[in-house]
Amino acid sequence: MKTGLTTIFCLCLMVGPTVQRQEDDFLDLTKIKPPKQRRTSIIAGGGMASTDGSPSPKPRLKVTLLSLDKRSYQLGDKFIYEVMLENITESVFVIPWTSDYYSVKPYEGSDPPGYVSASLRLVIKDEVSGEASAAGEGVYGSELVPGSLKRLRPGQKVRIRALGQWWFGSEEATKRIMMKLPQAYDVQARFSFLDVGGKPWYEPALSANSLSVELRKRQQ
């Protein structure tokens, strides 16, 4: 029996790395140290199946963009923002609750039990793709890492503070935006699930509100 308990304790130590401690309903992703572990290649995917106009599953969360650290930025600047997520379903809804990807998913190619991941980003309107999104933050969780999943009760609200960068991915999108600068944009926050543990795909949740920011060209 003692051996069994010792084994369980050791297993917990192995599979339960410490997730950053947070105020219960607040996750601060800006204070996370960069991972020591690095991968040179990451293979991941997505997509969905749909039949004859079946509606996409509606968002389960209401997103509100609470604040931005500044109201004027140069292209390429980092920024800090805060969002509130609210469970708008009538049942418990689970969201990922750590940025420690390497602890949650130590092995590429296999998902741990209950693996969930999501992306939190700020977006602006773009005439070609509909929206252009700034580089964001990922959050992850699995049943193997204590504290990495947040179970939201119906109506429960949580806050996340995150770090982003005014970086729009493709050169084309960046050029389109740069041509207009300086320019004021209405910025919205988007929370998109990327891995949902075999459950149906959820439509990304876009904040109903927006905050206005000015983007400027980068000074050399």
């Binding site: 040179t40 290649s41 995917g45 997509g47 039949t51 992306s119 793709s129 991915g169 998109s192």
Partner: protein, 245 residues
């Protein structure tokens, strides 16, 4: 290199420094565009990732005579530039239209009763439609052709909607993924997330375009020119069809 810009170098020759620079344009790589998949007919009971495609037999009024499923998949291999002027930048090394051995597919199902020329349902389609009086029924042959065309034809079809949408460079998952680059200030994992998020949004856009009803209606008894071809003769609650007169 993954992004355009100006490279500069400081050279010292015989103690004299020279600052040299040259602009570099990085072109898009070829061979990344996804090709539209062919429409594939499936049997009733096909499992489209949890949704079973089926049509009641015999068909009943209000039920569809054809159905489709669009299964979109992608996998990216994201990498980081290890040296050179773009060191630390992230990029998509490759992208393929599959995930975990499941490939993108367009599947459609036609009512087995409509395909069976000996079925009571098929034979009940009298082919006596009068456009002047708007009475009578379409023919079995027309109804079958229109059902196939509505789901999988090369014009006025959900399949054609899919092809047009996925061939649009602003939606094409391969084209979109090829162009994405990640900041040296962000990790490879975050870049991967960002690209997945962007591609998922394009997946939604292709789905929405595919869902648009050909000829503006889910009713399939229209031809490729969106001309009404006649009513469908469905069985009543007792299983009886209106007779052909």
């Amino acid at each position: 290199m993954v992004t355009s810009g100006t490279v500069s170098v400081r050279v010292v020759v015989s103690g004299r420094p020279y600052n040299l620079s040259k602009s570099i344009t990085v072109n898009n790589r070829s061979g990344f565009a996804f090709t539209a998949v062919a429409a594939q007919e499936v049997d009733s009971g096909f499992d489209c990732e949890g949704t079973i495609l089926s049509i009641p037999s015999p068909p009943t009024a209000g039920e569809k005579l054809g159905r489709y499923c669009l299964r979109q998949k992608f996998s990216i291999d994201a990498r980081e530039v290890n040296d050179g002027p773009n060191q630390g930048f992230k990029y998509v090394f490759s992208v393929v239209p599959s995930l975990n051995n499941v490939s993108t597919g367009y599947f459609y199902l036609i009512s087995p009763d409509l395909k069976n020329t000996n079925s009571e349902f098929y034979k009940a389609q009298c082919g006596n439609y009068n456009s002047q009086t708007n009475t009578g029924f379409t023919s079995g042959a027309n109804l079958l052709a229109n059902a196939i065309r509505h789901e999988a034809g090369s014009t006025q079809s959900h399949y054609n909607n899919y092809v047009m949408a996925q061939n649009d460079p602003s939606n094409n998952l391969g084209v979109v993924a090829e162009k994405e680059t990640g900041s040296p200030l962000k990790g490879l994992q975050q870049f991967t997330n960002d690209v997945r998020d962007i591609l998922n949004a394009r997946v939604s856009a292709i789905k929405a375009a595919t869902d648009v009803e050909p000829c503006g209606t889910s009713v399939i008894n229209y031809d490729a020119n969106c001309m009404f071809q006649g009513h469908v003769n469905y069985a009543d609650a007792q299983g009886r069809y209106q007779s052909c007169q």
